[in-house]
Symmetry: D2
Subunit: 416 residues, 4 copies
């Protein structure tokens, strides 16, 4: 199979998977936007299509006829360079275009992408393939957002309906162990081989001090110990902005948790369930992750430490006391939760030395968000298979909790 | 036809008309709540049904089986006495129950109301008939709200779709004339014959000074003169809270108006249209109505003056230079606009002397809103035929503009 | 003594009294603005002086030299007609002019007012005397505001210092009795004899139904019974906007009250004191007054009922079971509290039939506030002696509590 | 002179200088808090005294009698470990204690510190000296805050009074040059010799890529070119949160700037002055500094690059085309402005590898603010002489502008 056939096959598979994620939705669920962070599922379907139309079809397909020029503004997420876009909180107003029209839009654009692959015989082949790859990865990111947003929407419904298959971890999480690294100069970031986002590049050197990183994520049982020890009542564990946040919002436990009597429950794809102490704690903010780590006498890893640790693991698997991302192995039968989750690092989201954004409007894809957000590494049960990698940089504001985010502890260097 | 058959026939007609109002909607339009004042059309369909279930079926129909106990809270609008209700701004979250389920709920409750009429042979006949009448009038109020909310939603759509037949007034509005009244003791309010809301009762005496009331509403052309004369820039015309409001919100014209170049346009059921100067100005707030009146050297009528004038007209039509509510005559072919509109009075919404709210939860229907709202009289093109009457009291906050509200001028008594 | 000498003597006395009210203040207290409702005491001293300068000296005193043209904007309270004024919340920024400069400004303007009385021999004598009278009454209003604002400021100080002599009521409040009135056409409002504000005029007829009014204000003991009966937890007693207010603000008792253990304390001019059950309850909002009345099976009087009752009392004192405003008798040794307080009525603040505002900028004195506020009648322990009268209309937003406001009950007409 | 005499002399000098900074204030100016970022000058006088009382006298001086226990809460800035502190926005309410009392408090505590030095003959000598040094440095930080807050307060006064000597830069700023560094492993941070804050420690290695840093700060003329080129209208130059900020706040120029006609003016210690194009641009937010740099085809330096550059300069001054911090030389005649200013870096404020906060309540001094703030390096005309050093880390939120903050450009590494 030629490279372009492979890409087209992957394009078709990803487009299909997006609709599969929505298969648990009733018709009216496509309209819901329960918080300003989230978007209505309908909008995700339109926006991921708009991406291909805007960055590929309009530029490279001869005689391309735009589906509807009104879509320029309503499915543009945040690209100022492309002109007006609707403010995010008003996406809930989009009863028009209808879901049917959006599905038609999807099919129309998919057909034209096929045309593009068949017809082109020009000099742009590499550029087109790269952009299709980018569009595929973009759509995969929105697949995870769809899961996050659907979960949030369903939680806000008075019916709290389930929306997917779900089974909790079986067996014990096992004792939390530590892996040591000796530090020194280390190389971080993606090189030019294979797909990566611009924010992962360039690969560059960084200096690390000796550190130890935990073999697994903090689990619910451990986090409950923090709660029961007054973790949410003692400012000594908290960054100042975190303490203000939990005081203002009256947070006493992770997002999606509720306490009834003495028991804790959590909202899952299968509905409200009693907490399983062996599952990794998920849906915590950066401030909660940071406070937990301080309470535990540890800290969060930097993203450099995290990447160095996981890169080393792959080349030296024998020394590891744990397997790289075990949840991937068990998540092959659909959307599972609570699975493993993204891991908060202590690193603000910043450009790497020598960072160059993509040219044109796509330069807004990542670079302009490099302020006031924190990097998360790894992936989650909601991440499409194969989407993430060891250099992958996810990022959210430190107060955000609707993404699948958990805690991996780190220690060192020891003080002299 | 017996009284009960008549009521049942009216019940069926009103229920059917509610769905007819929604006939211009696409499926996803039922989910939209574009402002906190409005409710999603879906919700109106459920709530008007809940009203019959709650206040009739549960109380009077033997062995009534509740459709779904979750509906108690989600379709309760504001009755604290009945327990929890969802905060109004979160009605947009109600993707569940689905529209299909709500329509099934409607049919189920309609069937049981028929059962109630057929089976009852007890002492509660009058009470039941009165409550069905109340439910019918309640649903008619929501029919007008549906039109208001749909208009608001469509205006917020980037597509600004039309949603009904519409034709502007043909011909000239005619010169604005005045009718004089000599004042004295007058009786106001509804007596016990025929249906009325509790807030219209009891009929009572009030003392009026001589006054003159305008023969027709202020029209767009006249209102434009106010705008062009700097009406929105001169605080001398405005109540203090009105001036703060228009400064903060940067209002320069009525709601649904837009200025492009030198021309003014208005959103109508037929989409955006150029202003017709002969149409009555509509969708103004109380503060704008009051400021216009002050600019014109007049004032707004009190609700007592208004009711006295229109009651007198019916009995002495010869002296009138105008016809009682001409728009009703021309609105027989469906939802029309801009038709005539509700008329702001200078009267805050207060209990009449001797006012007694309905007993039980229904006491919350009107009485608890008698604070910080202003009375409007008359009716509008969106009011169901036959719903309003000369004693009818509509009420909105003085800053509200999404209801169909216009301006009738008043003058007097002359100063000595 | 000639009329003009009398007025000048009263002018001097009132100006002196303003400073006496401030005698309990330390220097830095003059700068405090603890809420947006209040103004710093310094500002009151400047504004009451600006009033005389603006409406008298600049217009009538030949060759008057303005003290400082910057004062035009900073001491203008809300007169749009006079140009820019500082937003009320920023009055706390006025460290300049200094207190010394403001006191110098006071003396300067007082001297020029004396000049105005001595020099004038022209046709404006009546106009000037009327405006001086208005300025005197205006300053008296600010004397009450000074007391209110100082109380609020001291309450917000962590030291909660006292600021005046204070002694609670001695002895029993006595049983609450009722006085009956038979209704009919009654005349309300001020005629042209003696000083009155424009909002009290013109005197006009109104129709009253039979009613009974309470002989004294509701006292703390009675209000505690309301609290203990769950008054603040039961929405059935509350107007909808009142219920939202107390839910949002978590109000559980009147302003200035605190509960420690089982006891209630209140902030007074003498500092925090245990509640005296015999004292009238004070510093309640309209919503609390209204809810208390509903709980008690009564209602608040309209301002017409109130005025009619108190006017009648003066001419028929023998029939009264109580004395007109007994607190005045005991308040002769300085600022006392809790004394009697203003009495909430159920009447929104509206223009009387035929109301004409003063001409020019002074037309903004009262008229533009006739929206969304409620009328209070009577006076309070903080009102300057002789300032109020039976036609006097005080007004505040229904949620306001920092003014001295209490509850007088009313009943009737009986339902048929 | 013994070490302890030296420290005591410095203590006395710093305490005296704090009052000198306030010498331009009128009495009422001490009460003003014009924004929530600022504190009233009175409060600074109290808080810097409370610091010595709390961390030294209470712990080390035998039989120390607390001045006033109410001061514990009102002069505690943010130390949760020490119990309640007043919310920052309510510091403006502190008319009590009076300014006189606060000055007495200062003298009282100063006397007891002298006692402490004279009486101690125990084992805590080093600890005490370190804490006095910390208190001195703390007070110096508040000296700069005093200048910042006074400037902000005076700017908000309608009189816009000057508050200090001021003269603009004479002569030309000179051409902006570049100094190159070759990168590699560099050591950053303070070692244990001499005073440093905990956030400057430990000294540690970091890896740097080759970079060039500008010889001087961006000046007003250069910044005007950015403005005239549409810098504030083009989202391409801005981080997403910066663009939201300037859109929401309608920022079009630096803080303290105003445009009248075609000319730009700036508020200085000498009042409003026309812009001097040769002066460094000051009072810009991080977002403006970052946007300017992007417009100029450059970037901001990281704090590591900045420190490396300035450390290198000191040891290799011959190679430099510019002098280390020239403004220090010309600021010897009092408070000058606009002088040089702090320099925004691209580095979020984070703990260094191995960071250990001070023990006890003082651990809250710096560590808990290591979130959502950006590091600034250098010093400003408002920084006390000798206070800053090459390892010094100042930090503010990226939207803050009331501190004296300007822009130094950086470039590299070049992309391959």
């Amino acid at each position: 199979m030629k490279a372009e056939s492979k890409i087209l096959a992957r394009f078709n598979a990803v487009r299909k998977r997006t609709l599969e994620i929505c298969s648990a939705l009733e018709r009216d669920d496509f309209m819901v936007q329960s918080t300003e962070d989230a978007s209505p599922p309908k909008w995700h379907l339109g926006h991921t299509t708009w991406f291909f139309e805007t960055f590929l079809l309009k530029k490279y397909l001869e005689r391309y006829r735009e589906f509807d020029e009104k879509f320029r503004g309503i499915f543009n997420s945040y690209y100022n360079t492309l002109g007006y876009f609707m403010p995010k909180p008003s996406r809930m107003l989009l009863s028009r275009p209808s879901l049917e029209t959006i599905l038609e839009y999807r099919r129309y654009v998919e057909g034209r992408i096929v045309d593009l692959f068949q017809e082109r015989k020009n000099a742009n082949q590499d550029e087109i393939e790269n952009l299709v790859l980018l569009g595929i990865n973009h759509e995969e990111q929105h697949q995870e957002l769809l899961v996050m947003d659907i979960k949030e929407n369903m939680f806000h419904s008075p019916f709290r309906p389930g929306f997917g298959a779900w089974h909790s971890r079986r067996g014990k999480a096992g004792k939390l162990g530590w892996v040591e690294f000796s530090g020194g100069i280390s190389s971080i970031g993606a090189d030019r081989g294979g797909f990566s986002f611009d924010n992962e590049r360039p690969r560059h050197k960084t200096y690390l001090y000796p550190y130890m990183i935990a073999t697994r994520l903090v689990n619910n049982g451990e986090y409950l110990a923090f709660i029961h020890d007054g973790g949410y009542e003692n400012p000594a564990f908290w960054l100042s902005e975190g303490w203000s946040l939990i005081s203002r919002e009256k947070w006493k436990m992770p997002h999606y948790w509720e306490k009834h009597g003495d028991n804790y429950y959590v909202f899952t794809p299968g509905g409200m369930k009693e907490i399983n102490k062996e599952d990794p704690v998920c849906h915590v903010s950066f401030y909660e992750a940071d406070a937990y780590a301080r309470w535990a006498g540890c800290r969060l890893p930097t993203e450099q430490e995290w990447e160095h640790a996981f890169s080393s693991m792959n080349s030296r698997p024998k020394r590891m006391e744990y397997t790289w991302h075990p949840s991937v192995q068990s998540s092959n039968d659909g959307l599972q939760g609570p699975g493993e989750c993204w891991e908060w690092t202590s690193s603000p989201y910043l450009p790497y030395p020598g960072f160059t954004p993509l040219s044109g409007a796509l330069g807004e894809y990542n670079g302009k968000f490099m302020s006031q957000q924190m990097v998360l590494r790894g992936d989650s049960a909601a991440t499409p298979p194969g989407h993430s990698r060891v250099t992958y940089r996810n990022f959210y504001h430190p107060e955000s909790r609707w993404q699948f985010a958990g805690i991996r502890l780190c220690r060192g260097p020891e003080h002299d």
